[in-house]
């Protein structure tokens, strides 16, 4: 099955093309069959390939053809190694179940076929991204997911806001993409190739290639590339300062938010850094920068999430925050921890988003939690599932989030980065608080909506609840493959770490610093993490639970109005960007338009045209219609010709 690796993206692409070209004319059942069937087939092929891969445990590479431009040749090839295998499983598995869920969620939409076409296209691009064996294929996928993100955010194109949000996402991403490109150029210039298999072994064997001083801006080559790639990741994975598009991306349909803006696309940046780990290991300054940004983003987003009223916004900022965790881990060198958290996050975040989708579906489109409440009675399954998701994300022991988050905090402590550890811990507390807040406000207490909405409340159909349960199983079980040493009581059960270990290439000469912590310290850290999670739940329960509903929020508003406003308005970041970046750029564009394009360029062209026009106006006086005049001109011409010939 491994040699059918190429079939996986081809299947999803076929689904996208069929639905895209013919979907409008096909009956809904056929659209569904195509839209879900092809990703399903892709999942089966992927599972088969993974099964085979697990048997060989060797990296598998397959080249299909070569792109040549001038002296540069880039192969179109796929690589299935441990890292991409993990990503492949996550993308195809979670992706498939979200497709199934969408059948129910989007069943009333007129653009049903369009949705599935775009979603399949997204899967194709994402698969390219993770399966590519060189940065160019990754970039093609990178851009492709950006495109699909734009298309799907702006899915409800007849409204004002979604297209704007889509545009914003695409443009902010583009800034990152530019940096990504520059990094790739640097790689081509130095190595003449973009293949991982070409570049990484060279660097690992000879770190001097990239650590020589001052390639650009005072950074060695490794630092430069690391920085460029990270800026790309900032855009795609919504880190400070390029995260602003993700909350607005909630304008898209909820399953889109689940798949793209939680489970897969936004994790592409983490994947990229994990893939490039050799270079990051040789650029300690930039790696530290990555970790700091990650941590800052984590806590920043968490504080905003507490004050949000739209359930999807809460989840959006939560995603930004969790992504921050992943980058923190990557910056600390704990690449397998970052990917581990990526995987668990995919499950429980998708679960939470889809659960919120169920709620929104039941509420007939309402997303404001202030109008919800008491939905646990009407939506029992959804409530339980959402509860599981909250437990997972809060890092309650036993569920996936606990294991992955603990790995990250463990890594911070092991590096003695206590500031980062503290930030991580506080964020964990905040995470628990805002997640349980959202649960209580939505499902507990009394219903605060209108009568109409109350009548409309109904549990979602099985086509939506079954995927939820599958993902819930993942949210619980996915963590168990990464049990830390501490808890394994001797048995070497830290499978995940071992699985991904070979991905991390050790550059020659770099001292391997093994930070061993005493068993006692490890226990302390574990308990602290647990305390953060449980404590957060407790706080949320005491503030929001038991029918207290919105009372706490109102108190907060009254007691500290300025703080509340600041948080609710997301620190006015969008407004700041608008004032200091967007408006000046718009003014500059306006100047270029009116001043230069219209005046100078159009002016030049128009002048040419009007010259002709004026010349014509003047010239027409020579057409007197009088034949004798013409004879005269004729003759004069002959004279001139004659004189010229003679002379």
């Amino acid at each position: 099955m491994l040699d059918l690796l190429w079939l996986i993206p081809v299947l999803t692409f076929t689904g996208a093309t069929l639905n895209g070209l013919f979907g409008a004319k096909l009956p809904k059942s056929v659209v569904t069959a195509i839209g879900v069937g092809f990703p399903g087939a892709a999942l089966l092929v992927a599972l088969g390939a993974l099964w085979q891969f697990a048997g060989t445990a060797e990296a598998f590479s397959q080249t299909y053809w070569n792109w040549t431009a001038g002296s540069l040749t880039i192969p179109v090839a796929f690589l299935l190694d441990r890292l991409s295998a993990v990503m492949l499983f996550v993308v195809t598995f979670v992706g498939f179940w979200i497709h199934v869920y969408s059948v129910g969620y989007m069943s009333h939409e007129s653009g049903y076929w369009r949705y599935f076409a775009y979603l399949n296209l997204f899967m194709t691009a994402m698969l390219l991204l993770i399966l590519g064996d060189n940065y160019l294929i990754m970039f093609v996928g990178w851009e492709g997911v950006g495109l699909c993100s734009y298309l799907l955010i702006g899915f409800y194109y007849d409204q004002v806001f979604p297209p704007y949000a889509g545009k914003k996402a695409f443009i902010v991403n583009r800034i990152g993409d530019f940096a990504f490109l520059v990094g790739m150029f640097a790689l081509i210039a130095t190595f003449g190739s973009l293949r991982y298999a070409d570049i990484f072994p060279q660097i690992a064997a000879n770190p001097g290639l990239v650590t020589g001083s001052d390639y650009a801006f005072g950074l060695p080559l490794a630092g430069f590339i690391a920085l460029c790639f990270f800026v790309g990741a900032m855009g795609k994975s919504a880190q400070i300062p390029l995260y602003v598009w993700l909350p607005d991306a909630m304008a898209g349909p909820t399953p889109v938010s689940a798949l793209i803006h939680a489970a897969t696309m936004v994790t592409a940046g983490v994947y990229m850094i994990a893939r490039t780990n050799v270079i990051y290991q040789l650029a300690p300054g930039i790696s530290q920068f990555v970790a700091v940004i990650g941590a800052a983003t984590a806590i920043f987003a968490a504080t905003i999430a507490i004050a949000q009223n739209d359930i999807k916004k809460v989840l959006a900022y939560s995603t930004v925050s969790q992504l921050g965790y992943m980058f923190m881990a990557a910056g600390l060198g704990a690449y397998s921890a970052a990917i581990f958290h990526l995987g668990t996050h995919a499950f429980f975040k998708a679960l939470l988003f889809l659960g919120s989708g169920s709620v929104i579906h039941a509420m007939g489109g309402e997303q404001d939690m202030r109008k919800m409440g008491g939905l646990g009675k009407h939506l029992p399954q959804t409530s339980k599932i959402y509860w599981i998701g909250c437990l997972a994300i809060a890092g309650i022991p036993g569920l996936a989030g606990f294991f992955s988050k603990d790995e990250i905090l463990h890594a911070a402590a092991a590096e003695h980065q206590w500031a980062l550890y503290a930030v991580g811990l506080i964020t964990a507390l905040l995470t628990a608080v805002y997640m349980f807040r959202s649960h209580f406000l939505t499902f507990a207490g009394k219903f605060r909506g209108t009568h109409e909405q109350e009548h409309h409340l109904h549990e979602s159909p099985p086509v939506m609840t079954i995927p939820l349960w599958v993902l819930a199983a993942g949210a619980i079980g996915a963590g168990w493959i990464g049990i830390p040493e501490l808890l394994s009581f001797g048995a070497d059960l830290n499978n995940f770490h071992d699985i991904l270990e070979p991905i991390v290439l050790q550059p020659a000469g770099l001292a391997v610093e093994e930070h061993h912590m005493s068993g006692a310290l490890q226990w302390v850290l574990l308990l602290l993490a647990t305390a953060a999670g449980v404590g957060g739940w407790f706080i949320a329960r005491s503030i929001y639970g038991r029918e207290r509903g919105l009372a706490a929020d109102r108190t907060f508003e009254q007691r500290w109005p300025a703080v509340h406003r600041l948080l609710e308005n997301k620190y006015y970041v969008d407004e700041i960007y608008d004032r200091f970046i967007v408006r000046p750029l718009a003014a500059l564009s306006y100047f270029f338009w009116k001043g230069i394009d219209m005046l100078v360029i159009d002016g030049a062209v128009n002048t040419g045209a009007s010259t002709v026009e004026v010349a014509g106006e003047v010239g027409r006086f020579s057409t007197t219609g009088n034949v004798r005049n013409y004879a005269l001109y004729f003759f004069a011409g002959v004279i001139v010709l004659f004189v010229w010939l003679i002379l």
Binding site: R620, F621, T623, T624, G625, N626, V627, R628, A631, L632, F635
Partner: protein
């Protein structure tokens, strides 16, 4: 005494000048045509003179062709005049000014 060839050339020059003046000055279409014929004759004379000068038949052959062309031109030109006359009922060139701006 033989007449120098240059005298023939001067004569041809004179005829040509006269013909040109006529062609540019007259108002009557037919008269313009006649003046053009005079010009053609002057050219023919020049050619024959040079043929004599260079002792070659080429000049005469060319005059032969010029004659044919002049005939053709006269025929077509007069046919056009007739056609125009049918429309305009005049061949006064001052009145035939359809192409006037």
């Amino acid at each position: 005494m033989t007449v120098p060839v240059s005298w023939y050339l001067m004569l041809a020059a004179a005829l040509f000048a006269i013909g040109t003046i006529g062609a540019l000055t007259r108002r009557n279409g037919i008269s313009i045509f006649l003046s053009i014929e005079v010009m053609l004759n002057a050219a023919n004379l020049t050619l024959i003179a040079y043929s004599r000068q260079l002792d070659s038949h080429t000049g005469q052959v060319v005059v032969f062709f010029v004659l044919a062309v002049a005939a053709a031109e006269a025929a077509v030109g007069l046919a056009l005049f007739i056609a125009v006359f049918r429309q305009r009922h005049t061949i006064d060139l001052n009145r035939i000014n359809l192409l006037r701006w």
